[in-house]
């Protein structure tokens, strides 16, 4: 994949300049640390849809600040890294745009105060993720992975939206700040369980929890900067973020704790085992990401308050682990990208001996892997101690929790050794190309993140006070009184830690035997999520094909029949069911002119029916249209009449073009006698039901209030005397905008259909076809 880049291509200036954006945002968010760690909540809001209680509101509290700093801080290095990594790829401008769009969406997600706004940003991250996974869109596997990620997370997102709406209704507000200010009421609400399940669907799909985890490893089809940024450090944490955000509202119930603990524990153990069976560096890292997400979800299942008034270690551990993981995982992914880029492969069996060839990448990988394995004095050690302490304090079955997290952590140590030792030691003979150190833009990010992981562990109280405890406070709903230290003395978590590292190293040492056994065990798993996804997609495609064959067989007459039968039946059924059939009491009075126009329309309709040439039928239909336009004119609607006449004219012109030029319709069947009866029946159904609707509508006195309003406000409010036009372009301009959008789309769609024709010659100027030449590069 990386080989696609041409070495001699220039790095575009904008790709470098855009790095300043996240850097500036990072500095800006950093200035908020003192206020936020002091317990302040910064807010900013503009009205969007005040009628629905939806405002563009943003809050910066400990939790959102931690995420915002991770997004902008890591984003700075990712954009810098991508400017070099993507050199020579086609459409780098588009890539950069997607990446920045993702970053801003993700920031919006974590800073949103309003549930609906949060959902909008949530889906924006889904869409940008889709575009980025499918960036190399000539590759069928990338397209499939992009669609899979989109379907899985968007399906969860829709469930989550339903959950949000129910939550908003139950709480009486969509503002998170207001919901969090009064968190007590929801747990006992009758809809609590439904809300919880729907929101968990969103969080679990986004954060790749078992059994929805499969899309995340497939998302590794994206270029490495994307994998490092979206699919390890930020976007996949959105689900964890949401759960953390809503913990004070929805948490602390038995069902919350049980669900999160079970799903999280299964995910974390399962994913860490799979991670060891992979040989592709990015796949190993992807599964350890799933493992980390599982651990975060599992620990968010901890109660918000431990017994005896102690703060909940589990929640502090979850927040800390988010921070720890983002640092080392982004660094390791970037190093994996460097290896791929410089050595030409990321298959572990081929890699080796890069220690001397790529010393800085090795340095960064070593720092990150130490943090991942939880070796003191790295921040990863602090995180792991907290996890063990939290698991030991589990309210129910602490031994299960401890066993799960220790098992996962042991395999994590092995995985850390796999990615940091195997590529760098041993022989470099199997490398496909002569490797050398990556440019500075590509090693600076991992080195800085690795050093931060080291400093964060050496100054644990500072990290905790500035970032972690304020974030934990937002999750727990109170300021925790807890001191994060590197050295807690010899206690059970420390012993577990030693056990973890030693066992993990032992597995690594005996990996030839042990991992093969694990691989064959994993292969015997009966059903994977990936296969289940395929089955569901095939079923949906079959269903779509079946209904398309049935309803849209490709014959024009069939389409019209389906449309009119549906229209006629739905109108008729509604009329009868609502008892709305009103027959006029007296024979209507009308002037001679009106009667003449009506007679003209009826006569022209009759001519249309019996016409035996197409031209005559079209002309007669035109007369019907003109008659209708006359009626509009008689009843004082010149704009509508004019539009109607013009449309009729246009139809005649288009039909003239088609009729005069098209060759004979060879083999066209004339309708049979039975077909004519059927058509007549359908036409009668539609005609009668439409007439009845019009009679029912006109039987009611017209709503004068609306007309009066427009007549009164048209001149002072819209500065126009033509009310129809003022309505079109001002009062109801949004409707018009929708209509012209439909017109434009219909035009383009019709054009595509017209151009759909087997061609013998290939013309270079053929419009509307994607340029396939880019595929070769």
């Amino acid at each position: 994949m990386a080989a696609a880049g041409k070495a001699d291509a220039r790095v575009p200036t904008y790709a470098r300049a855009v790095v300043l954006l996240p850097a500036a945002l990072f500095v800006w968010f950093s200035t908020m640390i003192p206020a936020v760690s002091g317990g302040a909540v910064l807010t900013w809001e503009i009205a969007w849809l005040p009628q629905l209680g939806i405002a563009f509101g943003f809050i910066v509290d400990g939790l959102s600040l931690l995420f915002a700093l991770l997004i902008t801080g890591i984003g700075t290095f990712i954009l810098l890294y991508a400017s070099e990594y993507m050199r020579g790829y086609p459409q780098v401008d588009r890539f950069t745009l997607f990446l920045v769009a993702f970053m801003l969406s993700m920031l919006g997600l974590v800073l949103s105060d309003n549930l609906i706004v949060l959902f909008v940003f949530w889906e924006l991250t889904t869409i940008t993720s889709f575009l980025l996974i499918g960036y190399t869109h000539e590759d069928a596997a990338a397209r499939r992975s992009a669609l899979q990620g989109l379907f899985v997370t968007a399906a969860g997102g829709l469930a989550m939206l339903a959950g949000f709406i129910l939550l908003g209704q139950a709480a009486g507000t969509y503002s998170l700040r207001e919901i969090l200010a009064d968190p007590g009421g929801l747990v006992g609400h009758p809809d609590y369980l439904v809300i919880l399940i729907l929101i968990l669907c969103g969080a679990f799909t986004k954060s790749a929890q078992f059994p929805f985890h499969f899309w995340l490893p497939n998302a590794m089809a994206a270029p490495t900067p994307v994998s490092a940024y979206l699919h390890s450090a930020t976007m996949v944490k959105a689900g964890v973020f949401l759960l953390a955000r809503l913990t004070p509202v929805l948490g602390d119930t038995e069902v919350w704790m049980a669900t999160l603990t079970i799903f999280g524990a299964v995910t974390t153990v399962y994913a860490s085992a799979i991670a060891l069976t992979r040989t592709d560096l990015k796949q190993v890292l992807a599964y350890t990401t799933v493992m980390a997400l599982g651990a975060c979800v599992m620990f968010l299942g901890a109660p918000t308050r431990a017994e005896a008034g102690e703060p909940s270690i589990g929640l502090i551990a979850a927040v800390t682990f988010v921070f720890v993981h983002a640092l080392y995982k982004a660094a390791l992914f970037m190093v994996a990208g460097n290896i791929d880029h410089e050595a030409g492969t990321r298959e572990l069996p081929q890699l080796g001996g890069l220690r001397r060839l790529m010393p800085l990448s090795f340095f960064a990988a070593a720092l990150a892997a130490f943090s991942m394995a939880g070796v003191p004095p790295f921040v990863g050690f602090v995180g792991k101690e907290l996890l063990y302490k939290g698991a030991l304090a589990w309210p129910a079955e602490p031994y299960v929790a401890v066993a799960a997290i220790v098992a996962a952590k042991i395999m994590m140590v092995t995985a850390a050794l796999l990615v940091a030792v195997v590529p760098f030691f041993g022989s470099a003979e199997k490398l496909p190309k002569r490797a050398h150190e990556a440019p500075w833009t590509m090693w600076i990010g991992p080195v800085v993140l690795g050093v931060v992981a080291l400093l964060g562990g050496m100054l644990p109280d500072l990290t905790a006070e500035m970032l972690l405890l304020p974030a934990a406070a937002a999750v727990m709903g109170y300021q925790p009184d807890y001191e994060v230290k590197l050295w807690h003395g010899v206690n059970i978590p420390l012993l577990l830690s030693v056990f973890t590292v030693v066992t993990g190293a032992l597995i690594f040492w005996k990996r030839a035997v042990l991992l093969d056994a694990l691989r064959s065990a994993v292969q015997r798993l009966p059903l994977t999520g990936d296969r289940a996804y395929d089955a569901v997609m095939t079923w949906i495609a079959d269903l779509a094909a079946w209904q398309t064959r049935w309803l849209q067989g490709g014959v024009q007459r069939r389409y019209i029949l389906v449309v009119f039968v549906t229209l006629g039946l739905s109108v008729a059924v509604t009329l009868v069911a609502r008892d709305a059939v009103v027959l006029p009491a007296a024979f209507p009075e009308a002037s001679f002119v009106e009667w003449s126009v009506a007679a003209l329309i009826v006569a022209a309709t009759f001519v249309t029916l019996i016409a035996d040439s197409r031209l005559l039928a079209i002309c007669a239909l035109g007369v019907v249209g003109a008659g209708v336009a006359l009626i509009f004119l008689l009843f004082g609607a010149p704009d509508v009449a004019m539009t109607q006449l013009l449309v009729e004219t246009l139809v005649v012109v288009i039909v003239a073009i088609v009729l005069l030029k098209l060759p004979d319709f060879r083999g066209e069947r004339r309708p049979t006698a039975r077909g004519r009866w059927r058509d007549g029946l359908v036409a009668g159904l539609v005609g009668v039901s439409t007439t009845l609707v019009l009679l029912a509508v006109t039987a009611e006195p017209p709503q004068q209030a609306i007309t009066d309003y427009f007549e009164e406000t048209s001149m002072p409010g819209g500065f126009g005397r033509n009310i129809v036009n003022v309505i079109l372009v001002d009062f109801r301009a949004l409707d018009t905008l929708g209509e012209i959008a439909v017109v434009a789309v219909a035009g383009v769609a019709a054009y595509a259909l017209i151009m759909l024709r087997p061609r013998r010659r290939t013309r270079p100027d053929t419009a509307g076809r994607p340029d396939r030449k880019g595929a070769a590069s």
Binding site: T643, L646, T736, G747, R757
Partner: protein, 148 residues
């Protein structure tokens, strides 16, 4: 269609119809007319021109791909709606008015121009598409069994 009368008459008619369409567009706010009607008239004018001559002549006269015209029109209409957001934080598409030399000028005008362009662009996309496809078929007829 090869008719001398139609071709010569069209030359005159098209010019008049186009001027009339702009007239209809501009007067629409106070008298019957507006972007939709004006756009339809312009579309008819160009369709007539296509009928009398060929699609290439219409494309030359338009100077831009009709699909682009429709897209630009949609863009203008959307952009006009954002002005209100910037000036007074009013909801999207709130009309903004100002007076230039005693004449009321407001965002509904660019919006209406957008409507006009979308209608012209979309209709001509279809008309020219049909026209060109026919020329193609005449040059290179498809056998019935080849039809999809």
């Amino acid at each position: 269609m090869n008719s001398l009368i139609l071709r010569e008459a069209t030359r005159l008619l098209v010019a008049m119809m186009l001027v009339f369409s702009v007239f209809m567009l501009l007067r629409g706010h106070n008298e019957p007319g507006g972007g939709f009607i004006g756009g339809l008239i312009a579309a008819i004018a160009f369709s007539l021109y296509a009928l009398a001559t060929d699609a290439a002549a219409v494309r030359r006269a338009l100077r831009a791909d009709p699909r682009k015209i429709a897209a630009v029109g949609l863009g203008i209409a959307i952009a006009s709606g954002f002005l209100g957001l910037f000036f007074e934080q009013a909801p999207f598409l709130t009309g903004q008015w100002t007076e230039v030399a005693g004449l009321k000028v407001g965002t509904p005008l660019p919006f209406d121009i957008g409507v006009y362009l979308v209608v012209v662009g979309a209709v001509l996309t279809v008309v020219l598409g049909i026209k060109e496809q026919q020329a193609d078929i005449e040059e290179d007829p498809i056998e019935p069994e080849e039809k999809l």
